[in-house]
């Protein structure tokens, strides 16, 4: 019975947001649809409490499979909570909106996000990722201000790039496996000849969605510009389409790729250093958090690197990785929404409480990867994890001393730092709560880490010490600008490089237009010579008016038949 219910909920979880879309667009039922939209993630939240199950859909695409397994359950829980938050935040705006576009985009993105987690085969996963990603772009592009729409364009360009790479990999793995279910594809991956190329394409493809350095351009701009209801959805997309996708396709624990592992380790370090410096140069709170997310992607790279170097590590990393996911995903989304939470804090007491909670979230976000330290103890990778925690703490802490973008202000130049940042910070009393909860966290995490993740006192203390030092550095930097880095506009310093592609396209267009003009000149010159001859005799006009008669057409057909007969006979 519970299996049947589970299968039903799997279908309902993906289909229910689409049903709500139907209600929105049917005349007379729009209000019902709007009322249901914020809660459309509930079936999936319920589903995350059910046991594992599989549902085969042989007629869907090339043989679709829906599956709920242990890995999927963790992601389902995180993503459904994030989408519930999105839905609730979007409620007022959707009710006030005159058109259904935003609601439809959100619901499609929601359906796609759930499809990502429940997909048991690669093509269904890819389809869900496409629907989720492009719908998110649509929701961003819906905004009235041009800068937000530009952020959407950066996202969609990278989505197209990422999807192309993943598609190539799926083709190769699908051809090797003969089917498209994840188990067979992972098995094919183990035995495929060009393993390193496939791995590289996958990491870049999924890394784009996570915000890995080199393909990270969308993260700061989208984080800076996304409206409140979209922020949890963006985090959900990063984890679902990026992290989960890599875990579904890369056979962690089964392949040994030491060269690739070494490259990923270096990439993790580069990501951290870049995220640290670029993030500290930002003045916009959410853009800084975008770089914190980029720094978080280095944790993903470190885990991959560790498992490719020592496949047996995956068995021990799987459990703490799930906890890292939930804690960092929820923490990132929460800290992105601090300004909305603070809007409701009317009294000084409430405002102070929000400050305390905000610092708590910063600390929880920063120490999320702590559970991984135990498994990697004694390795260079453990230092990488600790460094990631420090950078995340530094950036997240620093973000609390900055305001968000003033939505009405448009920057005068494309990458000028003159984009107006609100002087009003979301956290009113950033200094007061810091030391209070630092002490609480030291005690609580030591106990929790020891209890649940078997982190030794030494490891936990090291981690906490580094995080507290980093937060202190953030506070001091905010107070006295200790790091005198150049101030950058919300966006990425490397974005002008991609602008070069736009210039190249425009240049190619101008060249082609010039070639077309020359070709048009040649044909027009020929036309000027030939047309008078035609006009003089008016053969063309006569022929055209004749051809419009069907009788002539049939006669011509008869003549053609006779010609063929003559050819055949001779």
């Amino acid at each position: 019975m519970s299996v049947v219910l589970s299968e039903g909920l799997m279908l309902a979880g993906i289909a229910w947001p689409l049903v709500v879309v139907g209600l929105l667009i049917l005349p007379g039922l729009r209000s019902v649809g709007l009322a249901l939209t914020p809660w459309a993630a509930l079936p999936v939240l319920v589903l995350s409490t059910f046991p594992n199950s599989t549902l085969k859909l042989p007629d869907v695409m090339l043989g679709g499979i829906l599956a709920l397994d242990a890995t999927g359950r963790v992601f389902l829980l995180l993503i459904s909570i994030l989408w519930l938050a999105s839905g609730v935040l979007a409620r007022a705006r959707l009710l006030a909106a005159g058109s259904n576009v935003l609601a439809v985009m959100l619901l499609l993105a929601m359906s796609g996000s759930f499809g990502l987690v429940l997909a048991g085969d690669a093509l269904l996963f890819f389809a869900a990722a496409t629907v989720a990603g492009y719908s998110l772009y649509g929701a961003l592009a819906y905004e009235a201000d041009t800068q937000t729409r530009k952020a959407g364009r950066v996202l969609v360009v990278l989505l197209v790039f990422s999807d192309l790479l993943v598609f190539e990999v799926l083709l190769m793995l699908g051809q090797a496996a003969g089917t498209v279910d994840f188990v067979s594809l992972r098995h094919a991956f183990v035995n495929i000849e060009n393993k390193n190329m496939v791995l590289g394409l996958l990491i870049v493809g999924f890394g784009t969605k996570i915000g890995m350095f080199g393909v990270h351009f969308w993260t700061p701009v989208v984080f800076a510009r996304a409206s409140a209801e979209l922020r949890p959805a963006v985090v959900a997309f990063m984890f679902g389409a990026g992290v989960l996708g890599s875990w579904r396709l890369i056979p962690l624990g089964q392949i040994d790729a030491k060269e690739a592992a070494a490259i990923l380790q270096w990439l993790a370090w580069v990501t951290l250093v870049y995220a640290g410096f670029a993030g500290m140069s930002q003045t916009c709170r959410r853009a800084i958090l975008g770089y914190a997310a980029i720094a978080l992607s280095s944790v993903w790279l470190v885990v991959l690197s560790a498992c490719l170097q020592q496949p047996e590590l995956w068995q021990t990393l799987a459990h703490p990785s799930a906890a890292v996911l939930i804690q960092s995903g929820a923490g990132l989304a929460a800290i992105l929404l601090i300004d909305k939470i603070n809007e409701g804090a009317s009294s000084r007491t409430l405002s102070g409480l929000v400050s305390v909670l905000t610092w708590l979230v910063v600390l929880l976000l920063a120490i999320a990867p702590l559970g991984l330290v135990r498994v990697m103890d004694g390795q260079v990778l453990a230092i990488a994890i600790l460094s990631a925690m420090a950078v995340i703490a530094l950036l997240a802490g620093n973000s609390l001393f900055h305001g968000d973008l003033d939505p009405s202000a448009e920057p005068l130049e494309r990458y000028a730092p003159s984009a107006a940042v609100s002087a009003s910070r979301p956290v009113k009393d950033p200094y007061i709560a810091l030391w209070v909860i630092a002490a609480l966290i030291v005690v609580a995490t030591l106990v929790a880490g020891y209890q649940f993740f078997h982190v030794t006192i030494g490891q936990a203390a090291t981690g906490l010490f580094i995080v507290v030092v980093a937060i202190t550095a953030a506070v001091l930097n905010a107070r006295w600008r200790l790091l005198r880095l150049p101030v950058l506009a919300p966006g990425d310093v490397l974005l002008p490089i991609t602008h070069g592609l736009v210039l190249a396209r425009d240049g190619a267009g101008r060249l082609l237009a010039r070639c077309e003009e020359r070709w048009a000149d040649i044909t027009q010159a020929l036309d000027r010579r030939i047309r008078p001859l035609m006009t003089r005799s008016d053969i063309a006009g006569m022929l055209e008016s004749l051809f419009l008669r069907w009788s002539l057409a049939l006669s011509l057909l008869l003549l053609l038949g006779l010609l063929v007969a003559w050819l055949a006979a001779s």
Binding site: M61, L164, W550
Partner: protein, 499 residues
């Protein structure tokens, strides 16, 4: 002749007879003309449905009529023929409904629908042709019946476009006829046979066979718009939207592509053609056309011209699938015949709606069109994403099989072509979708017509909605029995592994 022998003739007659009657109808006889059009379309659909059921139950539908000594007019309903004839019939019905709405109040409708019916007659004849001579006859009838549609508006631009179209297609037809005649003198046979009928010829005939192949492909490549024989296609966009939809999705380009499939699989045989060494050049030509068409599309501001160049690119996927010469690529090429038809006709219907309702012809004028015409632009969005190859729309399935086929035969370079083409497709379709949905509409449209509370007339709105749903269904439910994919698998099975 048995009853089964009459069926293919009846399929031909179901559009020919109404067409001939419509020619002589007065312009004012709107109701009778509409009735004849729809009756012809529905009866054709019923007959094709009967053939599908019959073939599934192993009936054999074949008509043979003596044409010349040693040559017969042969109409045969095989799996490949039925795939194309079903597509043509379904889309003809929808295009008829669309054309009735689009041309309401326009002059010369009897002439238009007369040639419209002849065009579909010819297309169905091309699909059902059982030998090369029958194919050529109906192929040429297609040329003659579509020319008046191209020049229908009667303007100078239309006449010039018609001239260009005629020059290209008549020359192409002549090349095809020459190749056919030469083949007949060599083999004494023109019957389409699974896995070809020229394989028995010795290696001494190889140079001649290569030349015959080149002539046939050149003749077919004109209608299939292979570079550099594609020049007529963008110019033909001057025709009314139903004609563009018909030319680009149903009749002309598909006839060319279908002919290439016939020649490769049922004249030469894919294995023999590969031994002759003609498949690689065909693959390269198709690849160049795919990229060239996409690049040209990128720089067009006129919506129909952009769609025209997109067609140049997309139809070559079919030729590429055929040229890769593997069973999986065959599936990809054949199923794209159907998928591209569904997606492209959706786009052309939507372009026609925008022109007819808002007076919008250029992409730069499309700002906010989605707010004014949400259903039309929703259908356009589905078609556009399908062209890009985004799942779960039909185009993704075609690209999947083409990619798999390329890897199966060790031609990994095709993957790069597919990736490049997808990137370019995204580059020229996504901006249209963005403009329509996310830009502010102008204060006033170029030439807006008021349809009350509806966004446009039902006859204009329903066909693109149906074809968009079909395109989505063909992708999402690709593995259902009787889906285009399952049918393509059946055809590939027959071509590679025997009937």
């Amino acid at each position: 002749m048995s009853w089964d022998s009459w069926i293919p003739l009846l399929v031909i007659a179901s559009s020919l007879l109404p067409g001939l009657i419509i020619f002589v109808l007065a312009e004012e006889r709107v109701r009778l003309r509409t009735t004849l059009n729809l009756l012809g379309a529905v009866s054709k659909l019923a007959l094709v449905g009967l053939m599908l059921w019959g073939v599934f139950h192993e009936h054999h539908y074949e008509t043979r009529l003596a044409l010349l000594p040693g040559l017969e007019l042969v109409l045969r309903a095989g799996p490949l023929a039925l795939l194309f004839v079903t597509l043509s019939t379904v889309l003809w019905l929808l295009t008829t409904v669309y054309a009735i709405g689009y041309l309401e109040g326009s002059p010369h409708r009897s002439r238009f629908f007369g040639f419209f019916s002849l065009c579909v007659t010819a297309t169905v004849g091309v699909a059902l042709a059982g030998n090369l001579i029958t194919f050529v006859l109906f192929y040429e009838l297609l040329t003659l019946s579509t020319y008046p549609l191209v020049v229908h508006r009667g303007t100078d631009v239309a006449r010039r476009a018609g001239q260009t179209y005629l020059i290209y297609t008549v020359v192409g037809g002549a090349l095809l006829l020459l190749g056919t005649a030469w083949l007949y003198t060599l083999t004494g046979n023109l019957e389409f046979t699974p896995r070809g009928f020229v394989g028995h010829l010795g290696p001494e005939h190889a140079p001649v066979l290569v030349m015959i192949f080149a002539l046939l492909i050149a003749g077919l490549g004109v209608k299939a718009a292979l570079v550099p024989l594609h020049g007529w296609l963008p110019q033909a966009m001057v025709a009314p939207a139903p004609v563009s939809a018909l030319l680009h999705a149903v009749a002309v380009v598909k006839a060319g592509a279908f002919g290439i499939i016939r020649v490769v699989y049922e004249v030469f045989g894919v294995e023999f053609a590969a031994e002759l060494g003609v498949m690689q050049p065909l693959a390269w030509l198709a690849a160049v056309t795919i990229i060239y068409g996409s690049i040209r599309a990128l720089f067009q501001d006129d919506l129909k011209r952009r769609l025209a160049f997109s067609t140049v690119s997309q139809v070559s996927y079919i030729a590429l699938g055929v040229a890769i010469a593997g069973p999986i690529a065959t599936i990809g090429g054949i199923v794209h015949l159907v998928h591209q038809g569904l997606m492209k006709i959706t786009l052309f219907f939507c372009a026609g709606n925008l022109a007819e309702t808002l007076g919008v012809h250029k992409i730069s004028d499309m700002n906010g069109a989605g707010r004014r015409m949400p259903w039309t632009m929703a259908a356009f969005t589905v078609g556009a994403f399908g062209m890009i190859g985004a799942p779960p729309i039909a185009g993704f399935i075609s690209k999947w099989y083409l990619g798999q086929g390329a890897l199966e035969t060790g031609q990994g370079w095709v993957i790069l072509v597919l990736a490049g083409s997808s990137l370019l497709n995204a580059a020229y379709f996504l901006p249209i979708v963005h403009r329509a949905w996310f830009r502010e509409p102008p204060a006033e449209w170029p030439d807006e017509h008021d349809f009350g509370r509806k966004e446009t007339a039902w006859a204009l709105l329903l066909p693109p909605m149906v074809t968009a749903l079909l395109a989505l269904g063909a992708g999402l439910l690709a593995s259902t029995p009787f889906s285009p994919l399952e049918w393509a698998r059946l055809v590939a099975q027959r071509e590679f592994y025997g009937p």
